[in-house]
Symmetry: C2
DNA sequence: GTCAAACTACGATTACCTTCGTACAATCGA
DNA sequence: TCGATTGTACGAAGGTAATCGTAGTTTGAC
C-alpha cells in the first residue's frame, strides 16, 4: 500500500472556487504578471516559479503563488526540486466562461497602453 | 460667473482607470452586490445609495460606494439629498471590452449555484 | 555523502481594508 | 423655520495583506 506523497499541495476543488477570490487574486500587479506569463504556456506543461522574472524576493514570490493556488487560479505540482505551475483553465472556463480570457485581454490592452504612454 | 458646485465628487478620468483597481473593487461581496444591482438599471438614470438593501451600516455603505467610484467603476452625482449612482459602462467597455459583462455573468452563475446548493 | 538548486516556513514589519458608532452637513417639504 | 431624509467625516478597532530576511527542507547530480 503506497503512502501518500509527502509533498502534496492543497488545492480547492472546482466547486469551491469563488469569484471574489479569483478577482482578488488577479487584482495584484505581481500576480497578474504571473498569470500573464502562464497564460502563454501549455496548461499541461506549466513552468517553475523561477521561470518568471519578478521584482520581489523569493519568499514573496512563494506567497503570491500560494495566493493564486488557494484562489483556484493555478495548479501546483512538485517535480523534483521545482514546483510546476499551470493555469486551471478548464476549471475556470467551466465555472466562469470567458472570465480568464477577458481579464487577460484587458491586461494586454492596458500593458500596451502603458508602453505607449511611457 | 457661476461658482463651482459645492458638492462635487472626484472621479478618475477614463485614462486613469486601472485594471487592478477595478478587479480589486469587484472582489468584495458587498461591492459586487452593488454593481449587480446597478447593472440592471439604465446608466443615465442610476439609483441612490439607499435603493439597495445591504447588510452593513450606512457609513460602511458610503465607504463601498466610494471605493467603486475611486476605482472608476461607478459615477456618482448629487441630486438633492440623494446621490445617484450609475455604472461607467461606456468607459469600462472602451478600456476593457467585455470585462464588466463577463464578471457580472460569472457572478450570476455563481449566485445561481449558491441558491441551488443552499 | 556532499553540494547546489529550488522552494518553504516563520517571524516581523508596515500598510491597508472593513466595519462600526457618533456626530455632522445638505437638501427638500410642510 | 423645523424636521425628516440622505448621505459624509472622523476616529478607532480588528483583521488581512505584502514584503522582507533568515534559516530550513527536499531533491537531483556528482
Amino acid at each position: 500500500m503506497p503512502t501518500a506523497p509527502v509533498r502534496a499541495l492543497e488545492h480547492p476543488a472546482r466547486g469551491e472556487i469563488r469569484l471574489e477570490g479569483v478577482l482578488h487574486a488577479l487584482s495584484d500587479p505581481t500576480r497578474l504578471q504571473i498569470v500573464r506569463f502562464l497564460w502563454r504556456l501549455d496548461e499541461a506543461e506549466g513552468a517553475p516559479c523561477s521561470a518568471i522574472d519578478l521584482v520581489v524576493t523569493k519568499s514573496t514570490t512563494t506567497h503570491h503563488f500560494r495566493v493564486l493556488r488557494e484562489a483556484g487560479v493555478i495548479n501546483q505540482v512538485y517535480r523534483g526540486t521545482a514546483k510546476m505551475n499551470a493555469l486551471r483553465r478548464r476549471d475556470l472556463d467551466a465555472l466562469f466562461p470567458g472570465l480568464l480570457d477577458t481579464v487577460l485581454s484587458a491586461d494586454a490592452i492596458q500593458c500596451e497602453r502603458d508602453d505607449r504612454e511611457g
